[in-house]
């Protein structure tokens, strides 16, 4: 035997070493506590902040370390997930090591030996002496055990002596295994979700249709609106969404925060809202003479609609908006520096009759800075606008989430079995003695000794109490 061990190949030795490492129950507690401890770090060091924030809070040296160890995105690092993986391997190996023996011993738990001395060895025991006859008492004991939901087995029956074995709650012993498997299932679901799912965010305007990744349908926002409390606080925001499949509307649903739309494995959540920074509903413009302050031909123009300016030869079309106007010279592009209306500007196309003559940006704050109509005594000014709200929709495909929920329910079931169903085994010896019958009972419980003590006490009391009547 010893020889055989020595001859084991190196890879076998390493293999069994690893196996031993992962079958250790000390490892379990170590990893659980270690995980708890390192998780704290990620709540103290704020996650996924811009680099400047770390520099400001921790200085250069620490920031280098934070970035090196990826503490700024800790829960997704290899070392954090390595700890979780260790936990999983630990569970798997321990289950393989312990479960088969446990299963067998629990199925074949019936005692192989049971005699008059067996009960004496238990710490939970009672002996009572009754006046009743042997037969009567024996039946009484069995009835009482049945009533306390014990399964019973007559171990040995002799003329003046009976050995009864009772048990209850074996299934409670499997609670911890069920819990462990459920934990693996939850992590499995999370991994599936991570690999095959996606998250996306879209800014959507009323009337827009958006493409949804990976599926064969589109989504249209029919309406977006807010609700307020009397105090002016926001109560809720809602989007009316329509699913468009092959050009046909197939489903319309109102969603709000807490009420997503679920369609073919993708969920659409109302996640934010806001004032659009790059479009408006309508703008208010007017004509003005070069040397006068007088406005005339005041009119509202709708987004993207060619509109005549009354009493003039001009038609205009509103084609652009920037809430906080900025210009990027390199790319020759206009953009909005922020979503706040710091410097609102619109872009219009100006037509003389049918002919496009210019497409200037004009500003609320700086009227006349760029003439809207070239070579003319007249100019167009921008007076104000009606903004539009956008609906911020999150798209989420998570094929693992149902596995996670399944795992969670199994876990709760496992806890129920573990914590509320105790495995009890009871040995009862009924024996004819002078002037009556003696009953000794004692046994084992897997936890909560106190409960068991009381149960034995109760059974004993019932035997005596009922007998007195």
């Amino acid at each position: 035997m010893a020889k055989a061990k020595e001859n084991k190949a190196l890879h076998q030795k390493i293999g069994s070493g690893i196996w031993k490492f992962f079958s250790s129950l000390k490892l379990t507690i170590t990893v659980l506590i270690l995980l708890a401890f390192v998780s704290i770090i990620g709540t103290v060091v704020e996650q996924n902040q811009p680099l400047e924030n770390y520099l400001m809070a921790y200085g250069e040296g620490w920031t280098k370390f934070i970035v090196y160890a990826k503490i700024n995105n800790m829960y997704y690092t290899w070392w954090y997930n390595g700890l979780i993986l260790t936990l999983c391997l630990n569970i798997i190996v321990c289950t393989f090591e312990r479960f088969p023996t446990k299963w067998k011993s629990l199925l074949k738990h019936k005692p192989s030996k049971f005699d008059a001395t067996t009960i004496e060895r238990f710490s939970n025991k009672r002996t009572v002496k009754l006046n009743a006859g042997f037969e009567e008492t024996r039946e009484h004991v069995e009835k009482l055990l049945k009533k306390s939901r014990y399964k019973t087995l007559k171990f040995k029956s002799e003329k003046d002596e009976d050995f009864i074995y009772g048990w209850r709650g074996v299934i409670g012993r499997f609670g911890s295994d069920i819990t462990h498997v459920s934990l693996l299932l939850i992590l499995f679901g999370a991994i599936i979700g991570g690999f095959y799912g996606y998250k996306d965010f879209k800014v959507v305007y009323t009337g827009d249709t958006i493409r949804v990744p990976d599926v064969d349908y589109h989504l249209r926002l029919d309406k977006f609106w807010m609700e307020y409390y009397d105090t002016g606080q926001i109560k809720q925001y809602n989007s009316l969404l329509t699913v468009v499949e092959d050009g046909k509307d197939v489903l319309t649903k109102q969603i709000w925060v807490n009420e997503p739309l679920d369609y073919k494995g993708v969920r659409f959540y109302q996640s934010t809202w806001g004032n659009a920074w790059n479009r408006v509903k309508s703008a208010n413009i007017a004509m003005i003479g070069k040397d006068s302050e007088e406005l005339y031909s005041v009119t509202d123009i709708e987004w993207q609609v060619l509109t005549p300016i009354p009493n003039t030869e001009y038609n205009v079309k509103l084609i652009g908006f920037a809430a906080d106007f900025a210009y990027d010279e390199a790319s020759n592009q206009v953009f909005s520096k922020s979503a706040e209306p710091e410097n609102p500007a619109i872009q219009i196309e100006v037509y003389r009759g049918e002919r496009l003559i210019s497409s200037p940006w004009i500003f609320v704050n700086y009227p006349g800075i760029f003439p809207a109509i070239p070579d003319s005594d007249e100019d167009i000014v921008f007076g104000g606008y009606m903004g539009v709200l956008y609906s911020g929709l999150s798209l989420n495909k998570d094929p693992g989430v149902n596995i996670v929920w399944l795992g969670c329910s199994i876990m709760i079931t496992g806890f129920f079995l573990t914590f509320f169903i105790y495995h009890r085994r009871l040995w009862v010896h009924v024996r004819k003695v002078e002037g009556g019958t003696e009953v000794s009972l004692g046994g084992l419980i897997n936890k909560s000794n106190f409960v068991f003590e009381r149960e034995i006490e109760n059974i004993a009391k019932k035997l005596q109490g009922d007998n007195k009547k």
């Binding site: 506590i33 709540t43 809720q236 806890f415």
Partner: protein, 295 residues
């Protein structure tokens, strides 16, 4: 006049009285004192229940949507838990410890700034209701009282916290009593507590109740987050801390069951677990940044 605050004031005073009567009963064990103590515990429970009911009426939603309301829910749950324990195990002396904790919890709730105590309408993310319940209650025009995952989440979490608070009280009692026992000293006050093996066992039982409820709380929280934010878990500090406490109690259970930790070491872990709960509950709200509105 906000009736819930009137009842809160009553409950506050009642908890003080209850704690004092239990302590008196602990010092001079008298049957009638014990009876008064238990009666007071019931009166206080009633009064605390009224705070919650009034609050629900005033705000039109489940009465645990801010830190103050959740504190009331917490003391309410501890009170019920304690009474169940007293009924089942018949140890009135422990009431001195638990009711003192209750009073301290009420004290800290009462010291919260007023903005936590006023009735606030729910922000959009907190309006989470079960459809079937809304549909059912609509028949009676009561749909605004429907609850959802969020309420269930808070409720379960607080049952868990309450159980852990009780286990904490028991663990502390154990540690003090055990210290005397180890030195071979006796003290008539400590003798009135159950023997330390029993305290150890009870502390475990309390955790065995708390752990499934905390888990259920975390799971239902994830279900709600999945509906409101589109993802079940986002590692925000509150979530992470709930996982931390969960891990601590999981290690407690394993240390106990697989390594045979009993007594002092187990008691210290139970204390550590509850300190983590306190941080999860108050510390995270006030110190760490995150998405959770409160508790």
């Amino acid at each position: 006049m906000i009736l819930s605050l009137v009842f809160f004031t009553f409950s506050f005073i009642f908890y003080l009285i209850t704690a004092l009567v239990y302590i008196a009963n602990w010092f001079v064990k008298k049957k009638w004192l014990g009876q008064i103590a238990t009666t007071m515990a019931f009166v206080t429970l009633f009064s605390t229940t009224m705070v919650l009911i009034m609050r629900a009426g005033e705000s039109g939603h489940a009465p645990f949507s801010n830190l103050f309301e959740s504190m009331v829910l917490f003391v309410w749950a501890v009170n019920i838990g304690y009474l169940l324990m007293e009924y089942r195990y018949k140890f009135k002396s422990l009431g001195a410890v638990i009711m003192l904790l209750e009073f301290l919890a009420m004290l800290s709730a009462s010291m919260l700034p007023y903005r936590f105590k006023s009735v606030e309408p729910l922000n959009p993310a907190l309006q989470n209701k079960w459809h079937f319940m809304v549909n059912f209650l609509e028949k009676f025009g009561l749909e605004k009282y429907a609850i959802g995952w969020l309420d269930f989440h808070v409720f379960c979490t607080f049952i868990g916290y309450a159980a852990f608070a009780i286990s904490f009280g028991l663990a502390i009692t154990y540690l003090v009593k055990n210290k005397y026992e180890v030195k071979g000293k006796t003290n008539y006050l400590l003798d009135r507590f159950p023997d330390s093996k029993m305290l150890d066992e009870l502390s475990y039982i309390a955790i065995a109740w708390g752990f499934p409820f905390l888990t259920l709380g975390i799971v239902t929280g994830a279900i709600w987050a999945n509906e409101a934010w589109g993802r079940p878990w986002s590692w925000d500090p509150k979530e992470t801390w709930s996982a931390i406490t969960w891990l601590i109690y999981a290690s407690y259970l394993h240390a106990r069951v697989t390594r045979g930790w009993r007594g002092r070491r187990a008691a210290w872990l139970a204390v550590l677990g509850f300190l983590a709960i306190i941080f999860l509950y108050w510390g995270v709200s006030f110190i760490l940044p995150g998405l959770h509105a409160y508790a």
